[in-house]
């Protein structure tokens, strides 16, 4: 038996997993469900939750708590932690309660056309951060969550490679 705390899209799930024959018993926020899970390839599986079928793929990097889970083609980023550990972390003010936005990296090589934020500025989810020109198109880079800008690593007119750090948040 194991007890986890999962944070996804701002929602918290308290999940207890227990093996039961070939399947699993999952108690999710108090509601019990039967889960079957069969691997179909590296990081891919078919998962049946009370019979409902889902194609799952999970990307993780070892002990890191963040996962990119794809359910039937829809991507969901989440954090998973052992329940007690999560509570200890929370108590220590280091909670996984919110998947905090840490940095923005260049999604492609290109030219920085505009930088719309400054260091120390508070940004809202969806706010325009900067504009990159690539493939002859202007591409708006927006914040995916509310955060405070710690450092603006690029400036207007600068060329960037894919993966270059653009913005760091507090």
């Amino acid at each position: 038996m194991a007890h986890y705390l999962v944070n996804a899209n701002g929602k918290e799930f308290d999940i207890v997993i227990e093996k039961s024959g070939d399947s699993y018993r999952a108690v999710v926020n108090g509601r019990e469900q039967t889960v079957e899970s069969s691997s179909t390839g590296k990081s891919k599986s078919v998962m049946l939750v009370d019979g409902n079928s889902h194609e799952i793929s999970i990307n993780s990097n070892g002990y890191d708590n963040s996962r990119l889970v794809t359910v039937g083609g829809i991507e969901i980023e989440l954090e998973i932690d052992n329940f007690r550990l999560a509570q200890l972390k929370k108590a220590a003010g280091n909670g996984t309660g919110k998947a905090a936005l840490k940095k923005i990296k260049a999604p492609m090589p290109g030219l920085i056309l505009e930088v719309k934020v400054n260091s120390g500025e508070k940004v809202e989810s969806g706010q325009l951060i900067l504009v990159i020109e690539a493939m002859k198109m202007e591409n708006a880079i927006k914040s995916s969550a509310a955060a405070v800008v710690k450092n603006v690593a690029v400036s207007k007119g600068q060329s960037v490679e894919k993966g270059d750090l653009l913005i760091e948040f507090e």
Partner: protein, 510 residues
């Protein structure tokens, strides 16, 4: 004089090169691919009978270099060159050079490309051929007073357009006189830098038009037919995203009238080959000539599915000086086809291009589903070329079946390794106004302001959470087993915590 084509060089890449290679294979014609250094292991290289290197990754050093393409065509003794779309497809100079080199250019004559590529001349031709056009005039950018006077006589809102070129560059909507001058200068300079020609003209702007185009086929003996329309109103920044045939607003009478109009300009411009006549259609179903695209369109498959005519094979037959094997009366339309363009873009981030290597690639298939793709598992999507890498096309007995089939096919389509527009198309297929057929070219900006699409629903998020928990449980059980412990033994939370902290030292900060 008829001439059997034995070898075709395909001066293109990606899905359209694959499309043309498939036609060649079915016709027993040797297909020759060309490739840049970024495309050494691309699908079109692997699938063609022969393939030759033509230069570095930027298209200006490879796919756009006429000398290299002509030289390769001569080396491999190609009878003909198929330009696909984009790159050299609408380059009159290149079409002319092919003729000089005694290579068949699969497309209209150079003079037709030149005539129709100039929007002012094309518009003039359309007026002569009695096609309805929107009020508009050519203007001199240097003479701003005269330009403003002309603008005011047409009235606002109006559209400033580059005389040469396309793809939304050099195009500005002007809502009132006060912004006219500034917009004019920006449009002209954009046109100059994009097409090397700063000329622009102005045209009355329709507020919520539909974009409807007609496919035409013309042989070298003056036989001309149209293959019905394609509804292409679902666009973003003047780039088409979804196309269908028939248009939800089409009537038999309107089809006959617009089709006849399309054939008039085809005849007036001595058109040869496959082409597309584009129109704007207003809410009262008045239509206005827009332009002629002198090439195979990206969206040609929807016409193929409703007419059962293979447009690439017809292009090749026309290039062989064959007579069209059907007349207008032989062409019938059956069912409904929809195409979704699948691009390496992240719709949630304003359609920012997404590059990378395609990991898993599971294609949709089954009844009524066609995929025209230029990639497979392991393919690299680079920054150098158009992010469009596949087109998903479905046929249904009616629009409703086509939509439900498209949803089903989009659900089956899986790509990992980069972001795509698959999910976005799924959302459009469920949009009320799309389903009812009530939309215009404003659809995307009206329905999805700020490109904000529905996020995953609660059930899906919960499923993801359970999946992650099961995955972690399985991994921990395996670790415990490896450590010789029973799979049920609870691992010490504290030791796990310390182990995690230690791992982080090596895996870098988060």
């Amino acid at each position: 004089m008829k001439k059997q084509i034995k070898t075709i060089l395909i001066a293109n890449r990606g899905e359209i090169a694959v499309r043309i290679i498939r036609a060649c294979k079915e016709l027993g014609i040797t297909s020759v691919a060309v490739f840049s250094s970024a495309d050494r292991s691309a699908c079109h290289v692997a699938m063609a009978d022969e393939a030759y290197f033509i230069g570095e990754a930027p298209s200006s050093e490879s796919y756009l270099v006429q000398d290299k393409i002509i030289e390769t065509a001569k080396k491999c003794q190609a009878d003909a060159i198929h330009p696909g779309y984009g790159f050299l497809a609408e380059n009159a100079e290149f079409a002319g050079r092919c003729v000089q080199e005694k290579i068949i250019f699969i497309g209209p004559k150079a003079e037709t490309i030149e005539l129709l590529g100039d929007k002012i001349k094309a518009r003039q031709k359309a007026i002569e051929a009695d096609l309805p056009v929107l009020p508009g005039e050519e203007i001199d950018v240097a003479n701003s007073n005269d330009a403003l006077a002309k603008a005011e006589s047409i009235g606002f809102p109006l559209l400033i357009k580059a005389t040469v070129g396309g793809g939304g560059k050099g195009m500005r909507v002007v809502k009132s006189a006060e912004h006219f001058n500034e917009s004019l200068i920006r449009a002209s300079s954009e046109a100059k830098s994009a097409f090397g020609d700063g000329r622009v003209f102005i045209e009355k702007f329709l507020e919520n038009p539909r974009h409807i185009e007609f496919q035409i086929l013309c042989d070298t003996y003056g036989n001309v037919v149209h293959l019905g329309e394609r509804e292409c109103s679902i666009q973003r920044r003047h780039q088409k995203l979804i196309e269908e045939s028939p248009s939800p607003v089409m009537t038999p009478e309107l089809r006959q009238n617009m089709g006849e109009a399309a054939l008039k300009i085809a005849r007036a411009s001595n058109y040869i080959g496959a082409g597309t006549v584009e129109f704007m259609v207003d809410r009262d179903l008045y239509y206005y000539f827009l332009e002629v695209n002198t090439r195979l369109q990206v969206e040609h498959p929807v016409t193929e599915l409703v007419t059962a005519i293979d447009l690439v094979k017809e292009q090749i037959a026309i290039a062989e000086n064959k007579t069209l094997s059907f007349s207008q009366d032989d062409i019938s339309f059956s069912g409904h086809a929809i195409e979704c363009r699948i691009s390496a873009e992240d719709p949630q981030q304003g359609f920012v291009p997404s590059t990378g290597t395609i990991q898993d690639y599971r294609m949709p298939s089954g009844p009524g589903v066609r995929l025209d793709s230029g990639v497979e598992s392991g393919s690299e999507i680079s920054v150098y070329y158009d992010p469009l890498f596949a087109k998903l096309i479905v046929w249904g007995k009616d629009r409703s079946e086509a939509i439900s089939r498209m949803k089903r096919a989009l659900e089956e389509f899986r790509i990992s390794g980069l972001k795509t527009t698959i999910g976005f198309h799924g959302i459009v297929m469920e949009n009320e106004n799309f389903v009812s057929g009530d939309f215009s070219t404003k659809f995307i900006e009206t329905e999805f302001p700020n490109y904000e699409f529905e996020a995953a629903d609660d059930k899906t998020i919960e499923t993801a959470a359970i999946a992650a928990a099961i995955d972690k449980f399985k991994n921990e059980s395996r670790i415990n087993l490896q450590n010789g412990k029973s799979s049920r033994a609870a691992i010490s939370t504290w030791s796990l915590y310390h182990r995690q902290r230690n791992m982080k030292k090596f895996s870098g900060s988060r």
